[in-house]
């Protein structure tokens, strides 16, 4: 045991030291995470009226905001409809390929969204993809492609949440319903789904929020369709501050209100169980119906989610032989001269944001999981921590920018981007770790204390080893989220370009009225990012294999 560990163990038994750690954790949360996005926008609220007094602009802004919420709601619902059967298959299936499908289902989440956007464009819109079979563009950039894109990147979130819920679900409830006369579908409708309702609502909220906050890839596939994120981005590029304030403040407010309403009314929403039709449910429970369900599930998973998401790799293959790879490795050409510094910048920002949040998020995770400041205060923090997830990232970034640049001393651009990434990724770590800590039996901590361990030693030797996989997974999710972040980065940056921002710039140049062009530079650039993400996923899978309970 090192001298520092001994010192920390000793000092942790003093209540004042423990509370100091929690107070610092809370202060970090309030000052860095919570206040800037809320306060930043309120500093410029006077500009709000400028838009109100310009009816055409206000109408345009409101229409874009409505589109954001409409797309997010629709995407959340179809994600639930498609993700739940996939999760069902993974959690309850007996196929030897389950592990592979389980891993593949995570892929779209960790692939940077801008690469996803380009991939979907190539697949649905270009003649290189499925459109080639139809002799024209099958789906043009626009609202359908935006929905497809949002569906693809939020699909893994729903699958992951529902797989977890199904694995935790006591199968005995369903068996009990069967012995009481319910057919399989009847048992699922009346017992399983009502019990899983909180998880379904949680999955919907996450998919909804993820859709709402996505910017970079949306810009790539939106065409003339304008949602809130695209509107804010466009107005920013035109240097119009008032519409930015207007749209950002409304989106933040509406997102918070919707989230609060889901929290309050979600538990009251009941899945109807009164009307039953045994013969119809018996037919639906038959083997034919089950096989059809599985067939549709597989079709959606492979042909709507996975293949379009990875299609960009097709454009990366020519790059291996046409000299692009060599250009890339030697940083020849404008694209590659910008790509590597941008990648280095993204890695640096991701690393710093992850490190800061691991240190600063830990006390908050413990505080929430162990209800250290009482049940009410902990529950309040548990809800507040979600704000950076539910607020659209471009609006969040814009508000953060206003807050930090409004300070008398000013703030360097790099630090501003890092602060934005810290803000956006913070909830992923705190939520994942607090859930893991709350699953560790408190009696284990008490047992260690009774055996003479000081509080820090208890955390070090008992809690941390039990939650280290969630700890690691939370850190990886933060890092990958930071690597793919575009909206907030564009909102706060002026000269610095992270990799997703750079790719958005180049991909937009490839889009013409005739469809999207294929660039081996951009294809290979996206390919590197995907390869990098897959490597991270594989490492994560290897580390947590069979040990993911905590």
């Amino acid at each position: 045991m090192t001298r520092i560990t001994k010192f920390l163990d000793k000092i942790s038994s003093k209540p004042i030291a423990r509370y100091a750690v929690y107070v610092l954790g809370i202060l970090f949360f309030i000052i860095i995470i919570l206040i800037p996005p809320i306060l930043g926008i309120t500093l410029k609220l006077n500009l709000f009226l400028t838009v109100v007094n310009d009816p055409p602009l206000m109408s345009k802004a409101l229409s874009a905001i409505f589109n954001s919420f409409a797309v997010a709601t629709f995407v959340g619902l179809i994600d639930l409809a498609a993700g739940t059967p996939t999760a069902w298959f993974i959690a309850r299936g007996k196929s030897r390929w389950l592990n592979v499908i389980d891993t593949l289902a995570d892929l779209p989440f960790i692939i940077p969204t801008v690469a996803l956007g380009y991939s979907l464009l190539l697949f649905w819109n270009s003649s290189y993809g499925i459109s080639g079979l139809f002799g024209g563009s099958l789906i043009s950039p626009g609202w359908i492609l935006v929905i497809l894109l949002h569906f693809v990147f939020s699909f893994p979130i729903v699958v992951r949440v529902m797989v977890g819920a199904l694995l935790d679900y006591q199968y005995a409830y369903e068996e009990a319903a069967r012995t009481l006369g319910a057919h399989p579908v009847g048992a699922e409708r009346t017992v399983t789904f009502p019990i899983l309702k909180p998880s379904m609502i949680g999955a919907f909220v996450l998919a909804f929020a993820r859709s709402l906050s996505e910017t970079g890839a949306t810009i790539v596939v939106a065409g003339t369709f304008e949602n809130g994120a695209v509107f804010i981005q466009t107005e920013k590029s035109l240097g119009n501050l008032a519409p930015l304030v207007f749209a950002s403040s409304i989106m933040i407010l509406v997102a918070i209100v919707i989230f609060a309403m889901i929290q309050i009314f979600g538990s009251r929403f009941k899945i109807p169980i009164k009307r039953v039709s045994p013969s119809f449910e018996k037919r639906l429970s038959g083997r034919g119906a089950a096989s059809s369900r599985d067939g549709v599930t597989f079709f959606v998973f492979f042909f709507i989610v996975l293949i379009p998401a990875l299609f960009v790799l097709v454009s990366a293959f020519p790059a291996l032989v046409d000299g692009t790879l060599s250009n890339a490795l030697t940083a020849k050409g404008v694209f590659w001269q910008q790509y590597w510094p941008s990648l280095a910048l993204s890695l640096f920002i991701g690393f710093v944001a992850t490190l800061v949040n691991v240190i600063a998020g830990l006390p908050m995770a413990i505080l929430i999981a162990r209800k250290r400041l009482g049940k009410t205060v902990s529950s309040v923090f548990d809800v507040l921590v979600n704000i950076p997830i539910i607020v659209p990232s471009v609006a969040l970034g814009f508000s953060l920018g206003l807050f930090w640049t409004g300070l008398p001393l000013g703030i360097p651009e790099l630090l501003l981007i890092i602060l934005a990434h810290i803000s956006i990724t913070y909830p992923y770590f705190v939520k994942s770790l607090s859930a893991a800590i709350s699953r560790v039996d408190l009696e284990l901590e008490n047992a260690a204390r009774m055996l003479g361990a000081k509080p820090f030693a208890v955390f070090r030797t008992i809690v941390l080893p039990l939650v280290k996989y969630s700890f690691f997974a939370g850190a990886v999710i933060m890092f990958t989220r930071s690597m793919s972040e575009t909206g907030a980065t564009t909102a706060v940056s002026t000269t610095l370009k992270t990799v997703p921002v750079l790719l958005v710039y180049y991909i937009r140049q490839l889009i013409t009225s005739k469809g999207v062009g294929m660039s081996s530079d951009v294809g290979l650039g996206c390919g590197f990012l995907i390869l990098f993400s897959i490597l991270i996923l594989l490492v994560l899978r290897l580390v947590i294999r069979g040990r993911a309970r905590y």
Binding site: Q170, A172, Y173, E175, A176, A177, R178, T179, L180, G181, A182, H183, P184, G186, T190, V191, P194, I195, K197, I273, K274, V276, S277, P278
Partner: protein, 370 residues
């Protein structure tokens, strides 16, 4: 009417084909209360789940009322299953839990309500109709689980360790309540438990299982008086096991040479051969004890090593001079208690002992609970 026939059923699990139920056959008669007992992991719950249709057998067939069940899903078998964890639906109150069966079968609301009320009143729970499972005690949850199974119209009740999670006092009360209910409603019940005392108290017949097989089926008295296996002699009640060899077989008596050339006699009817290695089983309560060392037939001379007062009976551990150890239980109120180190003579009547062939894998292995 509800009788159950299990015919040569086998069930294995996993890629390693671990055998949970091994070629089991069993008949449960209409209106009978049968208990499946055995140590943890012996396959009794698996057998119950096979009968319910929650899992399918690899081999064999199960008949309910002479109808083969292999293609009948659980919901159409007409059985009520009471789970060890009760499996009360947490999102429904007591009323909706109990009326779930009638409603899911599309019985009209009026009849469903009548059934719900009837069963809840029978289980003395009608006043708690609007309570949710997390507001009930363990005993109440158990009664709701039974009420729910009954309201669904089950004529065959399958109970999987239904009293396992309750404390001793409530467990004792509820086991008689369940038996009374089953008998009053003329149901057939199969009750899984690892508690042999519980099985003895409530069952018409008991099936003892071990390692996926049924060793013996009989009434509680039959199993207690005439165990056919060493394991049954040990699991149902308690027994002293003395290793020995058949010295002579004369008429109805078998002369046995125990360790240290100690000769005892058993009137056990099973035929044995001279010089055969055997195990003699005598129940602690079948042993008599006298003060001092006296030469009597079937007398084992020894010394009291330990005394445990257990309320109704006192338990004595006797170290026999030949090196064996025996347990004797005597009514606590029957005379002056014996004290540690006191010399005693322990004896038994030849008719109250049982002879078993010495098990090929040794006595300890045969008695092992896992």
């Amino acid at each position: 009417m509800s009788d159950v026939r299990v015919v040569a059923v086998t069930k294995t699990f996993g890629e390693r084909k671990i055998v949970a139920v091994d070629d089991v056959s069993l008949e449960v008669h209409d209106k009978e209360y049968l208990s499946l007992v055995g140590p943890s992991g012996c396959g009794k719950t698996t057998l119950l789940r096979l009968i319910a249709g929650l899992i399918q057998p690899d081999k064999g067939e199960i008949y309910i009322d002479d109808v083969p069940m292999s293609k009948v899903p659980p919901e159409d078998r007409g059985v009520g299953f009471v789970f060890q964890t009760y499996a009360l639906f947490p999102h429904m109150d007591v009323w909706h839990n109990v009326t779930y069966g009638p409603r899911i079968k599309a019985l009209d609301e009026k009849n469903a309500a009548a059934l719900g009320r009837e069963t809840l009143e029978m289980m003395r729970l009608y006043e708690r109709s609007d309570a949710y499972p997390n507001e009930l005690s363990g005993g109440m949850m158990q009664r709701v689980a039974v009420a729910r199974a009954l309201a669904a119209g089950a004529k065959l009740l399958l109970l999987d360790e239904p009293l396992g999670a309750l404390d001793a006092k409530i467990r004792n009360e509820l086991r008689y309540d369940i038996r009374r209910l089953v008998k009053d409603l003329e149901l057939t019940a199969i009750h899984v438990t690892h508690d042999q005392a519980e099985a003895m108290a409530i069952s018409d017949r008991i099936a003892v299982m071990r390692k996926g097989k049924i060793l013996q089926v009989g009434t509680p008295t039959e199993l207690y008086m005439n165990p056919e296996h060493l394991f049954v002699a040990n699991f149902i009640g308690e027994s002293n096991f003395l290793e020995g060899q058949v010295a002579e077989v004369e008429g109805g008596l078998t002369e046995i040479r125990l360790r240290g050339n100690l000769i005892v006699y058993s009137a056990n009817a099973r035929a044995r051969q001279k010089d055969e290695r055997i195990v003699l089983a005598v129940r602690p309560e079948a042993l008599r004890m006298q003060r001092g060392l006296k030469k009597t037939q079937n007398g084992l001379l020894g010394r009291v090593k330990d005394v445990t007062f257990e309320g109704t009976v006192t338990r004595y551990e006797i170290s026999v001079k030949n090196g064996d150890k025996v347990i004797v239980t005597m009514p606590s109120l029957a005379g002056e208690p014996y004290s540690v180190d006191e010399e005693v003579t322990v004896s038994f009547e030849p008719e109250k002992s049982h002879i078993f062939p010495y098990p090929p894998r040794g006595l300890m292995d045969e008695l092992k609970l896992e």
